[in-house]
Amino acid sequence: MVSNVAIEKKRVDTEGISHYISSRPEILSFIGFIVLCILMSIISDRFLTMNNLTNIARQVSINAIIASGLTFVILTGGIDLSVGAVMALSGTFLAGALIAGWNPILSIVIGLGVGVVAGFINGFLVSYARMPAFIVTLAMMEIPRGIALLYTGGYPMSGLPKSFEIIGRGSLLGIQTPILIMFVVYILVYLLLNHVPFGRYVYAIGGNEEAVRLSGIKVEKFKMLVYVISGLTASISGVVLTSRLMSGQPNSGVGFELDAIAAVILGGTDIAGGKGHIIGTLVGAMILGVLNNGLNLMGVSPYTQKVLKGAIIILAIYISSSRQKNTN
């Protein structure tokens, strides 16, 4: 066999800080986040108060949880536009079950089950029926929303038992529950993406699906699973939001898919798949939250905020695509 083993030590690969950052775009996101926070605290003296910061974290939690599952989908090179609608449907079914007097745990399981089923349908159509993810999940923006409206007759469902408040408005171990749930979700998805084979397959599929398939890995199964995860995290957000509002709102979550996609992209994940980091997504969601909060504190109108948010997303994509040109 071949004997001339040589480990060359002269390649470009691991050289220099700029190269390190360009291979870890989430670091860039984090720097952006810190800069934004410094800016905001200069502009408004109300920004850097404990009260305001916890407010931001709580507001961010809903989007951050949705974006965590969406990160899986985007890493495989897919997209899930249905998350906002799935979240609304989960919330209304959960509210319906609670109002009917069902056990709260069972009701939550039903709410989460809605997300899993919706994700399963998305995943099956994308992975096994080989339909384009964009179209499938675009259609699946309509179906859950429609069912939620049918189910509620278009009105918010209120009258949830007081004890259910704990999830959205309460606190555990001195931390507000939505924030706590967000952290638990992130710890779990972090482990899933980085420390078990499934996570590696997610990245690998985004990197080169055909190569992974030919290596003997069941690509279809894992591609389906990422949509299930995305549906599940959307419904977790649905549970939190329903408790926060103490009502099932069929019209909640409109446009949330865009915020979640924005969080993933701002976090440095490549929209084409294969590259990115889950912590980046959390940072991305925080950037959006801080921006939102800061602009509110400054009294900028919501209409102007929309313009600014869009501009920042374009800027983020510009940075990420010019970075890719440099590394190639």
């Binding site: 060359e8 690969d13 220099g16 084979p197």
Partner: protein, 508 residues
Amino acid sequence: MSDNCLLELKSVSKTFSGVKALQHVDLKINAGKIHALAGENGAGKSTLMKIIVGVYQPDAESGEMTFQGQVVSHTSPQQAQELGIGIIYQEFSLIPYMTVYENIFLGREIRKNGFLDKKAMRKKATDLLNHLGMDINPNSKISELSIAQQQFVEIAKAISLKVKVLILDEPTAPLTPVEVKNLFKLMRELRAKGVGMVFISHHLEEIFEVCDEVTCLRDGQSVGYKDVKEIRMDELIRMMVGRDVSQTYPQNHEPIDYSARPLLSVKALQRSRNLPKVSFDLYPGEILGIAGLVGAGRSELVRALTGADKSLLKEVELEGVKVAIRNPKDALDLGIGLLPEDRKTQGLILDFSVEYNVVINTLKESLSKFKTIRRKSLSSRTMKQVRDLGIKTPSERTKVKNLSGGNQQKVVIGRWLSTQCKILIFDEPTRGIDVGAKAEIYELMRGLTRAGMGIIMISSELPEVVGISDRVLVMRNDDIVAALKGDDITPDGIMEYAAGAKGGNNGV
């Protein structure tokens, strides 16, 4: 400087973030000459070509580039084209659903009163194609043409742009032997018309067949310029590699026992209803070559066998036991590995490290009791393959896209060897791999069969098929038309069957 010099590079250097890709390279392209650029992968050939066409700019303090006596500093392929420097890449830049003439005139359409003058464009395209002796209908859609014809259209387009220097970057790689002959004929005609060409190919015999001059690059430096008539093949190889490389193939010293039970026995395999049913056996310790022209159905056969593509009928026995291979996962579980034709699009995850490319389908062997991945186990298993296969990489964490073609191929081999498979199917194992690494891959394949594995090797390179195979199946029109053994394995013998001079359509 002679009068017929079109393009001259003097002492050009190029540095990428501190790494010297080219150092003081000289190159002189003359009118009416075909200039070969030889060198192993990573020697700097493509960097040099990209400088010539303006994709990269040479380092500021380095030498200069002159075109027809004028110092030039173009910064894009468009500007290069306006000067008269054209390039034909391996991946064509034609638009598949547009016609030949529309492609030729893309971006500079002929107009009459503001409307497209299709008649004039068709006429001019026909004249051009006739002038170049190409038998291509200008009204055909690009997608209806063969690869060779598409390449001709690319060349015609470049000529219509009045290029004086034409760079051909591995133009023969996707072509069949007959198509290569036609390309060479065209190149000679262009030469007679005074076009200066740069020709890049991994097939050194092609350089000797068609080129006039050769410049050799090694590690980013020009290590020699020769008249092709004045150099022998082994001298050129030594110049490229910097050492002597054995040009012989490793022989199998132990004869294969064909009375033994086959390792793999394909009793019947039919891909779809209108295609023939084929059958063949693979014996332990054997390298079974599969030869045939491009499009004969060789890759399709092994893809169907390993479950990468669906098949209508498949009866396969592994060591005498009937098995079902419905998908690549089943193949993996049974110990059958496919190393696909195109490493970059089907074999590797380019943005992943060497490590994860090796272990991606065996992650389950490195789990802790909590089912999490043990990084240490991954890296030790990867390092074993790196050592055994002699993969040259700075570390196991290096991204695989930064390795050379030969080392990338070894990474894919390493992936399958870590699965303890018994059968490896190589589809074009040495395509795009330089001479030195080729020899290593052959050694490796022999080493594996000595250990009792069976290897199926598809190859379009006849010397390779003849040199290394114990037995050769020849395919034509999706059928196996011959099984050659021993002294019957000759290039001529294979070609006779592959091209259809011998052997029926009903299999053997």
